[in-house]
Each structure stands twice: as C-alpha cells, then as structure tokens.
Amino acid sequence: MSPRVAAAVALRVLTQLRRDPRTVALLIAVPSVLIILLHELFAGREQVFQHVGGPLLGLFPFVSMFVVTSVTMLRERTSGTLERLMTLPLAKLDLLVGYAIAFGSMAAVQASVVSAIAFTWLDLHTDGPVWAVVALAIGNAVLGMALGLLASAFASTEFQAVQFMPAIVLPQMLLCGLFVARDEMADWLRVLSAALPLTYAYDALAHAIANQFDARFSVDVCVVLGATLLALLLGALTLRRRTA
C-alpha cells in the first residue's frame, strides 16, 4: 500500500465530483431540505423533531455515500478503467483508501452543512457535543461507502446499482430503532436488526446526542468500524486482477 497512490485516487475522485457540481449540490441540498421539511412536518410536536432530527442527520451521509460510491465504482468496472488500474502499480488497498478519503471528506462537508442548519436555525438540541455527531456522521458515510463498493460488484448496470439503495439501505433504516424502538419490535425483527450495522450506527448517534459515552457507545462504535472493515475486505475480494 502506498499513501502517494491512495492520495492520487482520492484527488481524482474529488476532481470527478468537482466536474459534476449538480451531484455535489444535490448531496448537500437534499439532506438540508429534508431536515427542514422534517422540522416543519412536526411543527406542533417539537419533541418528535428533537428525537429523530439528530440521528437522521448522522445517517444521511450513509445513504448518500452508498449510492454515490456504488455508481462510481460500477462505472470504474464497466468503463475499463478498473482493468487498466489492475495492470498498474496500484494496490487494491490504495484504491479503497483513496475512495474512503474522497467520500469521507465529501461526507464531512455534507454533515457540517446539515448540522449547521439543524443546530442553529432549526434549534435542534443535543446534550452531547455537536462535533461527536458530525464525526459519527463521517464514520457512517465511510460505512455507506464500503457497502456501496461491495454492492457495485453485484450490479451490472447503473439501474441495478441504484436499486440496491432501497434493497440494502431502507430495511436498515426501518429496523435501526429510529422509527420504532427496538424493545417494541417483534422478536424476530429485533434479532434481524441486531445483525444490521446501521442499528449500531443509530445507537451510537443516540448515545452521543444524549451525552452518554458509556460502554454501550464504545461497543456501537466498534461494531460500526468492524462492519466497515469487513465490507471493505469483501469489497477488495471483488476487485480481481484476473477476470474471465
């Protein structure tokens, strides 16, 4: 693995994003508008917004980076550039780390803007530090990126890649405990949710927002990190030098 090559990949992906200002605008505007919409939706029930607002802004980057990465990597696979990269002095890890740096920094911008809107204008309240929420949001973005990278191996068209969003992301969103507390779920759903990484991402956010940096929080963070590493490892296995 070479930091120079990983940096080259990160720089390249960021340049590609810069060449596509509409996607960047959407990445930042869509979660911002959604959080404002949510605030207005629960205008009369402030505590509902306080309950879901914080975790949601920590989960947005997961969703966006999943979609952006799976499409970007699919393009890399179908355009022949991946095959070219595989003939160059570039380790698979360089490619993955480069992607993680690029999309991680994109997520940092996204989470900062949405947090600024939510915590100042919309009066979202958190007992814990805002930076912890933003940091967790970036971590969730990298998890989304890793899963997107893995998902791209199972798609042969961009249509399929986009469909993985509702297939892989939505169930995790529904089951993570944000909409229905996990204690109130049917047993089999609770078991299922325990197997999904976003459950731990949500739980870590809820703990950070409540300023509860306890053992449970540490476990959550470790599970999210572990799931990210596992997805990256499996993703690396799908990047084959030799193909049929």
Partner: protein
C-alpha cells in the same frame, strides 16, 4: 535495455463464458521490435493481450513476459497496456486523466506534455474527455500508456478510426519506441497496417496461422497483398 527478452507464450488455453477462445496457443514476440497481432474480430487477439498483461484468467499453459511470469507485480511498472475501448475517465479533462496516471506510476508531471505531444493532443489538454471524438479518446488512452517508461507496450487496436496522417505518425512512434529497445505488440484487424510491422502474428479462431516478417510471408505464399497472404494461408490450412 535488453532486446532479446520479449514474450513467450506456451500452450495457452483460455475459456471465456464456457467457450474455448485460445486452444493451446504457442508463439513468441521478439524483444525490441514492433510485432503486429493480426486477425479478424473474434480471433482471440484481445484475449491473448489480456493474458499477456495478466488480467485474463487462463486455464492452462504459460506466458513469460520480459523474462518473468505474466501478471507478476514487478511487471506492472515495466508493461503498459491500452485496452481496445478507451479506458480513461470521461468526466475528467485530458490533463487530469494523465496527471492521475502519472501519479499512480510516480513519473514526473513533465512527461504529461511529452505524451500528449506524441499523440497530438497538446492543444486540447484541458478538454473534458466525454466531449472528445472516439479517435481523440483513443489517443488519450494511448497517451496514458506512454507516460511511464515501459519496456513492453501492449496496444489493442490503438489506431482504429484515426485520421490517416496521425496513424502514420503513431506507427513511426511505435518504431521509435522499438528502436529505443522497447517491445511493441500492436493488434489490428486491418491488413493494410500489417506492412508497417517488423514481425507479424496471424491469428485465426484462437490458433496461430502463421508468424514471420511481412516479406517472408509473401514469399512463402507467393501472394503480393497481405490480405491475399492471409487468405492463401487459411486455404492452405483447410486443404
């Protein structure tokens, strides 16, 4: 640079999607020369080239490239490969593409202008690749391969759809590269390009039909046109 060590392919067998593409193919590519890999579409040219650069899963046989087993990591600096479909980033400019490949290869940025000059793209370096014509895109792809200091260039139909003047210039570039001691393997399905090669490998249906210098093959078959050489070799084989 040693010019003797080119490529040695022995009994290469490749199966793609359940169909045998190369059937125990054996051939040699001389070092320091321009070798043309000729044959109709579907004859296995691209598969052979992919096998040489180590991205093709092979079923059997062996390939030695520059004295080393094909696909070994040390060859990634010594071999440059240009795929048939231009494999560059369409949403980046020409310069941005080359800058990225230069960083990966860790060659100085000064080589970018040199590579662009060779493919006659210096004037449009800041154009986004997606807005270029197919021929220009192919040249960007080729320029990326010229960035490093490769001992072997594997070029899959690099001159398809190019303007005749540029084609002639590129062929002279290939010869300059060979004179510097590099090995150049160029595939083509156009027979009129065959005469520009030092050596020819004629491939048909995954088998080597003939190998030799253009004038040698003419003498052997008695045909003047290389297209006719190819035809008479096929006929001779079927008889």
């Amino acid at each position: 640079m040693p010019s003797h060590a080119g490529i040695v392919v022995e009994k290469l067998e490749v199966v793609r999607n359940g169909v045998a593409v190369l059937h125990g193919l054996s051939l040699e590519v001389a070092g320091g020369r321009v070798t043309g890999l000729l044959g109709p579409n579907g004859s296995g040219k691209s598969t052979l080239m992919r096998s040489i650069v180590g991205v093709q899963r092979v079923r059997g046989g062996s390939i030695t490239v520059l004295g080393t087993r094909a696909g070994s990591p040390e060859l990634r600096r010594r071999v440059a490969y240009v795929t048939q479909a231009p494999s560059v980033y369409g949403d980046l400019t020409i310069r941005e593409n080359l800058r990225f490949f230069a960083r990966v290869l860790s060659v100085p940025a000064a080589r970018i202008a040199l590579a662009l000059e060779t493919v006659d793209l210096l004037g449009s370096a800041d154009k986004v690749v997606n807005r270029l014509s197919g021929g220009q895109r192919a040249r960007v792809s080729l320029a990326s391969a010229l960035l490093g200091d490769p001992e072997l260039l594997v070029l899959d139909e690099p001159t398809v759809g190019l303007d005749p003047l540029l084609r002639r210039e590129l062929w002279s570039t290939f010869h300059t590269l060979a004179e510097e001691g590099r090995t150049v393997l160029v595939s083509s399905h156009v027979m009129d390009e065959a005469d520009r090669c030092d050596e020819l490998l004629l491939l048909r249906e995954g088998r080597l039909l003939a190998a030799g210098r253009p004038d040698e093959l003419r003498q052997r078959t008695g045909a003047r046109d290389l297209e006719d050489v190819f035809l008479s070799l096929i006929e001779a084989e079927q008889r």
